[in-house]
């Protein structure tokens, strides 16, 4: 029995020792179970994030255990809490410092849409300044909702192709509002 050129005969011949797959799938599988979080926490949703990260709900079950407090070592930016216009350039800077591939998780109503703050100070959803991969509304969201969102993000990451990266810098730069 020689080794054939078609995939089926290779699998038959080496079924005890070799698994055939695609590189993208292996990489996606590796990435989705090893998120390194950067928790960008500004407000009350942070309390719920502690619950998510703590032992009762335990985000470690999804492989996303380790918050890195340097954006250069993180690949999942979790934006937790209201983002004000004063804060927005800082958030963009953190995003730009993260290494590719990177994903953005919008955690809570304020981050998704501005929430109840329709006023002079609040960014009306961080998707106006950053590309966002997953939206989890709620004020704050229950940990179950966060895990639902995380699992949906894992599905997305599993199906990504290498061509998606690098994504590049955030689309906006800080503008000069200096008076003439």
């Amino acid at each position: 029995m020689g080794i054939g050129t078609d995939r089926k005969s290779i699998e038959t011949a080496l079924s005890e020792s070799v698994i055939l797959t695609q590189v993208d799938k292996v990489i996606g599988w590796g990435r989705k179970y090893s998120f390194f979080l950067y928790p960008f926490i500004t407000a009350c949703c942070g309390m719920e994030f502690m619950s998510v990260a703590g032992p009762r709900y335990d985000i470690d079950r999804f492989g996303a255990a380790l918050p890195r407090f340097s954006p250069r070592q993180a690949d999942l930016l979790i934006v937790v809490g209201t983002i004000s216009h004063k804060q927005a350039p800082i958030l963009t800077k953190v995003y730009n410092q993260m290494t590719e591939p990177k994903w953005v998780f919008a955690y809570g109503a304020c981050v998704v849409s501005g929430g109840m703050y329709d006023n002079y100070s609040t960014v009306q959803g961080i998707d106006t300044i950053l590309p966002v991969d997953i939206y989890v509304p709620g004020c704050p969201p229950r940990p179950e909702m966060v895990f639902e969102g995380l699992m949906k993000l894992q599905d997305v990451v599993q199906q990504e192709r290498a061509a998606k990266w690098p994504r590049g810098e955030a689309p906006y730069k800080k503008r000069s509002l200096e008076k003439p």
Binding site: H85, K86, A88, P89, T92, D118, N119, Y120, S121, V123, Q124, T128, I129, Y172, K173, K174, R175, S176, L177, E178, K179
Partner: protein
């Protein structure tokens, strides 16, 4: 009439414009030109001894005259009593003398009122925005600031 109101009225009969003690909170409204003098007396007099400025804020009564009112909440740690002092500030001359020389706590509180209401505190050592960014134009807690107006530092206009 409340004891503190009596004392202030006796000491500054022409400076006190009105007073009330609704809900047990003794309150006087005074002429803004005399504010530092009255505050200094309230702090240093042994029977009042208001050694703490608990809070300081402002109100915008758009359409009334004077348009703004600044509100001082005083507390005496030694005598455990409280007092509220108000002063009207006109729109065309939105200035009042600073009380930072009397209470250091007034520093950030007056900066906040400048930031959000645009009332200028004469003699303040460092009167600049405290909550908003330097590039912000206008004072958002004024009632005529448009509720939908945004001034983002980054991103699209709205």
């Amino acid at each position: 009439m409340g004891k503190l109101i009596d004392m202030v009225r006796q000491k500054f009969p022409e400076a006190v414009l009105s007073s009330h003690e609704d809900f047990g909170d003794e309150t006087v409204t005074v002429q803004k030109e005399r504010i530092v003098e009255i505050m200094k007396w309230l702090r240093d007099n042994e029977e009042t001894a208001f050694n703490m400025l608990m809070d300081f804020t402002a109100v915008d009564y758009l359409g009334k005259e004077p348009r703004f009112e600044v509100v001082y909440h005083l507390y005496s740690v030694t005598l455990n009593h409280r007092f509220r002092v108000k002063a009207g500030v006109e729109e065309k001359d939105p200035t009042i003398n600073s009380v930072v020389p009397l209470w250091r706590a007034a520093d950030w509180l007056e900066r906040e009122v400048w930031d959000l209401y645009g009332i200028v505190f004469m003699g303040h050592p460092n009167l600049k925005r405290i909550l908003l960014y330097e590039e912000f134009e206008g004072h958002p807690l004024r009632k005529d600031y448009p509720i939908n107006k945004r001034q983002p530092l980054i991103g699209p206009d709205n």
